[in-house]
């Protein structure tokens, strides 16, 4: 649906986006994650045709955004970081104007506006001036604006920024709902949001993609299948038993958190599932396992890891 190929954006000497390539499949919700100033908004501005890339191409549904901008832009709805609202208009005047410029025929206008206002729940404020609306409503009018003209692709730049917790949850639910009928690119620096909503995540830092994958994959890959164990046996006995197990690279005691038990973290060799051998070995040594859980990295940890160490992960 969306193909981004080798996109680079330079401002003089400064490289805002550095050779970024990815594709978004039909009906997918892609999360774009990165610290402030990582190049998220620039990438989104390029995808939507607001600014041009210095190098590289962006294709929407096979249509190049620079060669046939009008055709390509019809397929994208964009909610920029600052919702582009005219403060002196009422909500319905504004949406009417967006219909005009997105070339929605007057026959389908009324029906589609009603549908959109119903989905984003702004029906009750449609007669009010936009400048008098709360931040949450303004954001929703921004989303409504992006949906006009029924684009298949929605690009949402930090859609939950500045909202209160209840509004954030509502906005997430809305995005999930929209994701059933749209392809969505969503940017955020709030991690739980991305992991809650997105099918796939791209982490970007200093203009480069540093990690990509599903939330589960990312955390498994970077977590590397580590296990945390709590065993009801003396430390020496447990250590001895575990060191015999094939595939175990490192055993690290973490101390006692429950009387008569010992907590241990086990690192496996690359890509080996050691849960069964560990269970069998400890059961042979008569060391009852009270708890075993995989030590997947949370998204926060992944994020910190890839954006601070700049380790290349793909």
């Amino acid at each position: 649906m969306i193909e981004v190929q080798n996109v680079t954006k330079r401002y003089g000497q400064h490289v805002a986006v550095d050779n970024v390539s990815f594709t978004v499949n039909d009906g997918e919700i892609l999360g774009f994650l990165g610290p402030n100033g990582a190049g998220k908004s620039t990438t989104m501005n390029i995808i939507t045709g607001y600014i041009s890339a210095t190098e590289g191409t962006v294709k929407i549904d096979g249509i190049d955004i620079l060669d046939q901008p009008e055709e390509a832009k019809k397929r994208i709805g964009y909610l920029p970081e600052f919702p582009p609202l005219y403060m002196d208009m009422t909500v319905s005047e504004y949406l009417d104007f967006v219909c005009d410029i997105r070339k929605v025929s007057s026959a389908e206008r009324k029906q589609s506006l009603e549908r959109i206002m119903d989905i984003v729940k702004i029906d009750d404020v449609k007669g009010r001036l936009i400048k008098n609306l709360s931040k949450g409503y303004k954001q929703r009018v921004g989303v409504a604006q992006a949906m006009i003209g029924n684009p298949q692709v929605l690009v949402l730049d930090e859609p939950t920024v500045g909202l209160d917790p209840r509004q954030i949850i509502e906005m997430r639910d809305l995005i999930k709902k929209l994701g059933k009928s749209h392809t969505i690119i969503l940017s955020s620096h709030i991690l739980p949001e991305v992991s809650a909503v997105c099918d796939r995540i791209i982490i970007i830092n200093k203009g480069k993609i540093v990690a990509a994958g599903t939330p589960a994959n990312l955390s498994k890959h970077l977590g590397g299948g580590r296990l945390s164990l709590r065993v009801a046996a003396p430390e020496k006995q447990v250590m001895a038993a575990l060191e015999q197990v094939p595939g175990v690279a490192r055993v690290e005691p973490r101390g006692t958190f429950e009387p008569g038990t010992i907590d241990i973290v086990v690192d496996p060799d690359e890509e080996v599932d050691i849960r069964r051998p560990v269970f069998n070995a400890l059961s042979h040594a008569d060391c009852p396992i009270l708890m075993m859980r995989p030590l997947d990295l949370s998204l926060e940890e992944i994020f910190m890891q890839v954006t601070t160490q700049e380790s290349e992960v793909s």
């Binding site: 607001y50 009008e70 964009y78 582009p84 609202l85 104007f97 967006v98 997105r102």
Partner: protein, 287 residues
């Protein structure tokens, strides 16, 4: 284009801008009409219109300062530029909206000659000619204001710069009498013009060959003309200024003469500035 046009027109009257423009224009026009036609009982309406042209210096910035600057400040230009709407449509919509507000105001002033017609015969065609010129002059200045508004995201700066540029166009006539008239300065001026065009071409296209060819061709033309008939350069600066002068052309209309060349001149002048506005917005997205 219609969408942007309607929105801009509405914006003029949902904010004070349109009312301030119309109110101020009509106030001054009415004042002029009263003191130069009504009280002295003089029927020369075009002379009044001609005196009234200075009003553009003040009211055109009011009309145009918002057009592009406000979109950029509020970041609503993102909406326009990411919609399936070409930059041409967007700029033309805005330009025509401003021209329409001006035209509506002008139509209201048609009451003045109508009033005069109750008291005697008026030269209808002459007045129509005067109005056409007045309208074209105003539209030209609006195009200049539109362009300047696209250069900044600050309305106040847009207004001040527009005022200064219009003032410069205004005093250009006075400049004609003081510029040097000798042949050498004529040649230097012509060369400077060619150089300016070549530099502009380079900054617009980044193609050194095109600019070089233009510069060389221009230089050759200047030299050729110099060899053939160097007297052409006598008073060349003054002639160029007179040709370029926006106000000079208006005088013909003022006399009630409706000829093609000033009409073409004004329309071209406006078109150039509308085009420059479009280029400027496009360029911002590429840099």
């Amino acid at each position: 284009m219609i969408g942007v046009y309607k929105k801009e027109l509405k914006a003029y009257f949902s904010t004070p801008t349109g009312y301030v423009f119309m109110g101020f224009f009509l106030l001054i026009a009415g004042f002029f009409f009263a003191i130069s036609n009504l009280f002295p009982m003089v029927a020369n309406y075009n002379a009044m219109l001609s005196n009234l042209t200075f009003i553009f210096l003040i009211v055109v910035p009011i009309l145009t300062m918002r057009l592009m600057a406000e979109e950029m400040r509020q970041k609503t230009d993102v909406l326009l530029l990411t919609s399936p709407l070409s930059v041409n449509e967007m700029v033309l919509g805005k330009y025509f909206a401003a021209v329409t507000v001006f035209l509506i105001t002008l139509l209201i002033t048609c009451l003045y000659p109508l009033m005069m017609s109750f008291f005697g015969d008026i030269a209808v065609w002459e007045i129509i000619g005067g109005y056409v010129g007045f309208f074209l002059l105003g539209s030209t200045f609006i195009a200049v204001g539109l362009f300047i508004s696209s250069l900044t995201d600050n309305q106040v700066i847009a207004a001040v710069v527009t005022f200064s540029v219009l003032l410069l166009l205004w005093v250009m006539d006075a400049l004609q009498s003081v510029v040097p008239t000798d042949i050498i300065s004529g040649v230097v001026f012509a060369s400077a013009l060619v150089a300016a065009v070549a530099i502009w071409l380079y900054s617009a296209t980044r193609n050194i060959y095109v600019s070089l060819v233009t510069a060389i061709a221009g230089g050759a033309a200047i030299a050729g003309v110099y060899i053939a008939n160097k007297d052409i350069y006598t008073g060349f600066i003054g002639k160029a200024l007179a040709w370029f002068s926006v106000l000079n052309r208006y005088n013909e209309f003022s006399l009630g003469i409706l000829s093609l060349s000033p009409i073409v001149y004004y329309i071209t002048f406006s078109a150039v500035f509308v085009f420059l506005t479009i280029r400027n917005i496009e360029k911002k997205r590429w840099s």
